[in-house]
Every structure is written in C-alpha cells, then in structure tokens.
Symmetry: C2
Subunit: 346 residues, 2 copies
C-alpha cells in the first residue's frame, strides 16, 4: 500500500512551494485532477465540490505553479520580445503597447535587448527558445533573415520593420521610405532645396530606407542629390551633434536638415545652438519617430509619426492570433508628418 503522501526528501531550496494542488485537493477532500479541472474550467464539476475547492484555494491564496503547468501543457504563456535596447526611447512606446495587449490576454512579455548587433539578437532569440516562450516579437533588428527563419521553426515570430515571408513568420512592415519621402517633401514644399540628411549607423535597414525616401523626394522635385549633404550619425544624440558640426564645418550651404530619427535631431539642435544658429530661422530641422519628448523640445520638433505604440499593440495581437490559430490581420499604422515649429517656409 502506497502512502497517500509519500515522505519526500526536502531537496535544497526553501523556495519549494508549500501549497500545491495536492494540499488543496486533500483539504477539499477531492483528487488533484478535480482541483485542476475546476481551476481551468476544463470539465463539468458538481457545484458541491466546486465550492469546497474554491474555499480551499481562497484560504491558501493558491495559484498553480507556472513551471509545472508549462511543462505539462507545453506552453509558457510567455512571449519573448526583442528590442534593440530596453532603454531606447524609441522602442519604449512599442514595448509598452506589447505589454498592455499581452497582459490583457494573460501572457507576459520577456523583454531582451539586441543592442543593435546581430550576435546579441541571436543570443536573445536562443534564450527565448530555451526558456520556452510561446512566440517571439522582434522589433526590427539586423539578424539575418535565414536565422529568423530557423528560429521560426521552433516558435512563431512576428517581426516589425521588415517584410519577411515564411512559415510561422508574420511581418508588420514599417513604411520608412514613405515617411521619409513625406518629410523631405514637406521641406521642399516649404521652399527648401538644400536639405542635409543625417543618417543612422550604417548597417541598419531602416536608415537606408529613410535615406532612400529622402532621395525620392528630391528626385520628384528635380533637386539634384548632393552626397556632401549627407552626414553620418549613429541614431543617437551625440551622432546628430557631431554630424551637424561636420556639415557646418564643411562649409556646404543648407537651409534644412532632415534627421534619420528624433534623437539625432535632438543632437543636431544642440549642435546648431552651440554655433549660435536659430531653429527654424537659420535652419529648419525635421526628425523621424515623433518621440514624446519631441513635443517638448525647443522649438517643438517637426517629425514623422508612425505610432510605435500602435505597432507594438499590433505585434502583440498578431502573435496572439497566430497562437490561437487565426490569421493575423492588421492595417499598418498610418504614417504622417507632424508639423511643429522647427521648420519654416523659406
């Protein structure tokens, strides 16, 4: 005869759970299976037992162990979310959007930072897989398509900012090029013809797309592209700062500068300020991303907005849909330029 509670060696960790399905079951005088069924609403159970069990659960404030449930179910109710940096103001809003939607669905987000480099991104995805996430959301990133496809064999992936097709992959393209074209056109329509462009770091696709949109707008207006008017930044404030300085030092004339993102524009602001140049009187500036802080910068920055927050929510919805066996369907957030006070008519 087997004892109902075989003596168990208390193995190490004091964090071993004190209350388990078993103790709830004993207390309510039922089997663990029944408790499980009640908790999960996974079968009809007589009201009588239900009441007893619920009382025991309430009494102990019991919640089933996630690891055990995960193991039994093969699901972790966790989504791996890769951004480039947990402290990047750009991704921040997106993460917020993801977190919100996932929470509503009972999922948790496991956030990790790819640090703008392929090796780290790869490490993160691996870690996600190892930790048994049910799905992955990648905010852009420079990981090779082939690698993404490989990981997608293990778990569904939604990627933003690139268009990548494949089984268990869903992508939410971001219209960087169009946004950039719109921004440059705005400047052109205001009479600017000598428009400098400050890039991001080289390898990232978004930056290239934005550069390309800028060139398209120029071409549309029959303005010749001047390579001396493009300066290299690094997506961050300091890059924008150095880049405007370089531009100014070059002696090349320009009446406006279009920055690959708002952080770069903020850096450019300081560079211009240091040279005693007024925005927009001496030079107009436009950014990209429309960070929350850009409405508060002086003067408030004209920027192209594509609601990363919405993008985050949509990514979450997409991964949830895939997990539920539905086809994700989204209409990409509208992209438009928010005109504020950093640009003026020439």
């Amino acid at each position: 005869m087997r004892a109902k509670h075989p003596a168990r060696k208390a193995r190490g960790s004091r964090s071993r759970r004190a209350i388990t399905l078993r103790v709830i079951a004993d207390e309510a005088g039922v089997s663990p299976s029944t408790v499980s069924r009640i908790i999960n609403g996974t079968a009809k159970v007589s009201d009588q037992l239900k009441v007893a069990v619920q009382a025991a659960i309430a009494k102990h404030d019991f919640r089933p162990d996630a690891a055990a449930r995960g193991l039994a179910l093969g699901r972790s109710l966790t989504i791996g979310v890769l951004s480039q940096a947990i402290d990047s103001p750009f991704y921040a809003e997106g993460l917020r959007g993801v977190e919100k939607r996932l929470l509503q669905a009972g999922y948790a987000a496991l956030f990790m930072s790819g640090n703008w480099n392929e090796a780290d991104e790869d490490r993160c995805l691996r870690e996600f897989i190892d930790r048994g996430v049910d799905g992955i959301i990648m905010f852009s990133g420079c990981l090779a398509d082939s690698a993404v496809r490989r990981y997608a064999r293990r778990v569904p992936i939604v990627v933003t900012g690139r268009s990548l097709r494949g089984p268990r992959i869903f992508s939410l393209p971001v219209n960087d090029r169009e946004g950039a074209r719109l921004a440059a056109r705005h400047l052109i329509e205001a009479g600017h013809r000598r428009i400098a462009f400050i890039t991001g770091a080289e390898n990232h696709p978004d930056g290239l797309e934005r550069l390309s949109g800028y060139r398209t707008a120029l071409a549309d207006a029959a303005i010749e592209f001047d390579p001396h008017l493009v300066a290299e930044g690094n997506w961050h404030e300091d890059g924008g700062f150095r880049a405007v300085n370089g531009l100014l030092d070059s002696g090349r004339r320009f009446t406006a500068v279009f920055c690959v993102n708002d952080q770069t524009a903020h850096g450019a602001y300081l560079g211009l300020f240091r040279r005693g140049l007024k925005i927009p009187d001496d030079v107009s500036v436009v950014g990209f991303d429309d960070l929350p802080s850009s409405s508060y910068v002086l003067p408030p920055l004209t920027s192209v907005r594509q609601s990363v927050h919405e993008l985050g929510e949509q990514s979450a919805e997409a991964i949830l849909a895939i997990l539920a066996g539905r086809r994700p369907r989204v209409d990409p957030p509208q992209i438009k330029v928010i005109v504020r006070e950093s640009t003026r008519r020439l």
Copy 2:
C-alpha cells in the same frame, strides 16, 4: 519488460520539444542522468562518454528545457523586475543596468510595469511569484510595506528608493532629500531667493522627500517657505507645463524653479518658452534625475544626478548576492548636482 521508449500520445501542441535529454542519451549510448551531469558539470564523467555526449549535443544544438529544469530544481533563473512603466525614461536606465548584470550571471529579467498605482504593483508581484521568479527587484513604487513583506516570505526582494527592513528584504535607499537640498542650495548660492517648486503626483514618497529637501535648503538659508510657490505637477512633461503656467498666472514672483524631476523641467521649459521667457536669463530651472536627454535640451539642464543605471546594477548585484547566500553590500551611488546652462547667478 518495459519498452525503452514507451509509446506516448502526442498531446496537442506541436511545440513539444523534438529533442530531449533522452534522445541525446540514446544517441550517445548513455543514460539521461549522465547527459544531465555532463551538461551541468555536476559530477565526474569519463572523458570518453563526455566526448560522445558533447558531440550529440552539438549535432542537435540541444539545450535543456527551462520549464522542466525549473521544476526539477525549484529555480527559474529569472528575476522579476518591477518599474513603474517600461517606457519611462527615468526607469529605463535602471532597467538597463539590471538587465546587464543579470545577463552576466545567467539570469533573465522579467520586466513589468506598476503604472504608479498600488493595485498594478500588487498584480505584478503576484505574477512574479506565480511565475516562479527566484527574486524580485522593485524600483520604488507605492505598494504598502506590509505587502512587500508578505511577498518577501516567498522570495527575496530588493527595493530601491525606500528603506524597508525585514527578512529577505534588502533596500537600497535613494537620497532624494539630500539631492533636493543640494539642488536648492545651488540655486540659493547663485543668489536666488524666490524659488518655485513643482511637485510630482501626491502619493509618491520620492516627491515628498524632494520637497522636503527643498524646504531644508530654504530653512538653512533662512528663506521663508512660501506655499504659493509650490505648484503641483505629475512627474511628466505636461504636468510641468501646466504647473509653470499656474505659477506664472498667479502673479507670484520667482526667479528660479526647481522641478521634482527632469521630465517636469522639460515641460516647464516649454511653458516658459510659450510665455516668451528665456532660460536662464528670465528664470533659472533645475531638474532632478539627470536624464540622458537633459544634456541635449536647450539650454542644457542643470539637474541632480544619482545614476539610476548604477542603482540598477547594484540592485541586480544585491539580489544575486542574496540568492548566493551572501550578504549584499553596496555603497549607494553618489548624489550630486550637475551644473549646466539652465541656471544663472542672479
């Protein structure tokens, strides 16, 4: 006789792992126990077996299932990290610091947002516990001490920004009051006597501490505290904006405004700008937190710096120490005012 691989019902989920310890073991001709030992370096194993097993592991790119390991070990190698918002520029740096240190130690951070309210903070901590985190890091927050103590019975907790003693609780106090005193003193030493203060939202302790530091500095300099000079903000830009407007509308004279945090100061910048007031010529402004963006704001903002990044790293180190059974020891990051261009001598 029991078959070595009893036929198993393939239960649902296609994400069921294909390769397990079992298959590696079979392939290398050893038992799962041995594979486990090799992976964990948990016992001497003959080189011969080791080689065979490692080959099989490499071939399949095998990594043990985290949920299973977690269940067996009673540890998840995950730390729950509560901040007020995943997209707050203030906490961002701290999260970054945590992530970095945790990663080095092989732990992952599970980030969740408390949204500046007790109910959400409580929900997050619960979720952490349910998900079996090995420890929790809380960035300030307004959850009642008693609740923190209760959760600490389940898992060690390190809290920043408050001093809370208790078993399995370690706190990293943040010297808000002293920082605020220093900032206000800086203004006073520059000749200001009518110094306005913009607060955070009411309930948060940090804000009260900062207000108190401001009052101390005033008292030290024998300047009478004028309640009409304190305006209520909300920790965010819009609150700062509205607050300066209120101050200006009140007709009360002031030559400087000390803001409870940098975001508030950024909002105040815009408010002043809209009224045609120059910083620092017409009014000096000082913030608190020294956000990265504050060096790029125009003019660069004088602010008190307490390195949240460092605080994050220290929190991570502390929780790691506790888990390793060591006593955490940290020297709190130095607090000082970074003088930039938003303040001038009267």
